[in-house]
Amino acid sequence: MARITAGIAASHVPAIGAAIDLGRTGEDYWKPMFAGFDWTKRWIAEAKPDVVILVYNDHASAFDMRIIPTFAIGCAESFKPADEGWGPRPVPDVIGHPDLAWHLAQSLILDEFDMTMINEMDVDHGLTVPLSLMFGQPEAWPVKVVPLAVNVVTYPPPSGNRCWALGEAIARAVASYPEDLNVQVWGTGGMSHQLQGPRAGLINAEWDNRFLDGMIGDGDALRHIPHIEYLRETGSEGIELVMWLIMRGALGRRTRALHRHYHVPASNTAVGHLVLEPVS
């Protein structure tokens, strides 16, 4: 049977992708940000997941204003890096796992989560930057990926509680997949950042670190944080953190932290990173 062995949380700032692609990770500005991922790179080379269910949001790349799915699952054989206005990132195509993706979609719908299925889409920095952070610059990504896109752009995004519950349903669906697969769930985006208006540049390290604390152990207070709190405390784009709760929900009642990293800034954003393990 397939099993969820770990969860990873990581920010997905486009400038991080650019720094990797342009070979600037050794610059003073970037060094401490990337250093926090060294441990994870070593760990994941040993952990060798077969598939990552990668929770991210599209930033007006695959989805424009014509179609706004709340939860969309990528069922394609492969996904190309999107041209976000400056040409696609020079990274490998992302290879999907259509069997698992369709199994998840079917199981989740029976479990009353009405997923949108996507058979063709490009994936933007929201999905490819976390892959680059964990795996560097390989010829081909060493994992298959089931993209799970969440609307966190047009209000209302799903509630934190709904995201957590979706994670719990994902855990049930993975557990009923017959093939023996080592599955990780990644929650990406965040942490505090605001990219718009006179309040742009907001960072709230204290709140972010409380959120990191809340991801660890058996507490579930995070699922009840209302949207307005994310907006006030973490900036308008900090709302992306609800996506971390899908990962957290998928790990079950209790988690243990294997690794933790927090750094300000990457461009306009506070970078947070966790590697969590479910504790049964």
């Binding site: 486009p14 400038a15 650019a18 500005y29 930033h59 007006a60 790349s61 424009d64 204003m65 014509r66 999107a82 041209d83 976000e84 206005g85 400056w86 040409g87 752009v153 047009t154 209000y155 209302p156 509630s159 509680n161 505090s192 605001q194 990219l195 718009q196 208006g197 006179p198 309040r199 742009a200 540049g201 907001l202 960072i203 709230n204 390290a205 709140w207 009840h224 949207h227 307005i228 907006l231 006030r232 405390e233 900036g235 308008s236 784009e237 300000v264 800034p265 461009s267 306009n268 506070a270």
Partner: protein, 148 residues
């Protein structure tokens, strides 16, 4: 389970955040064509036509005159007011060769250097910019200046 939310109360709270335009349905509807115009700049051939004659390219889109003027002026705060969303507006500033940190800084009234320096120093503190109401009541500490 959580209690069902009242959508009117939910939305009303968003207007209480200083210097922030939450991308609600109202804004999304007002900005539909503006944002779709931005999306068109994802294609290299459209970027070329846009760069060759911005006004002519814009006139192919059913934007309001106000929206067109704000696009031409790269007035991003105005564009947010007129229904633009930052991830869509990013297509304009990316085409101009600006990074997020450069373009976002223009909305704060700070110079690019000052904004970048603020970010490197840890970003903008949430103190005093959480709530317009609280600022009026003097309960949020920080300065009382309202930046919305």
């Amino acid at each position: 389970m959580t209690v069902p939310k009242d959508i009117h109360e939910y939305l009303a709270e968003f207007d209480d955040i200083p210097g922030t335009r939450v991308y609600t349905a109202k804004r999304a509807r007002a900005g539909y064509h503006l944002n779709q115009f931005c999306m068109s700049l994802m294609k290299a051939e459209n970027r070329e036509r846009w760069k060759a004659d911005e006004r002519a390219y814009l006139d192919e889109w059913p934007l309001t005159d106000e929206q067109k003027e704000a696009v031409l002026a790269r007035d991003y705060n105005r564009l947010l007011d007129l229904g633009g969303n930052i991830y869509f507006l990013a297509k304009i500033f990316s085409t101009d060769g600006l990074s997020f940190v450069q373009a976002v800084g223009t909305m704060t009234g700070m110079s690019a250097e000052d904004y970048q320096a603020m970010m490197v120093a840890g970003g903008r503190s949430p103190e005093g910019v959480r709530s317009i109401r609280a600022n009026h009541a003097g309960a949020d500490g920080g300065d009382r200046k309202e930046s919305n």
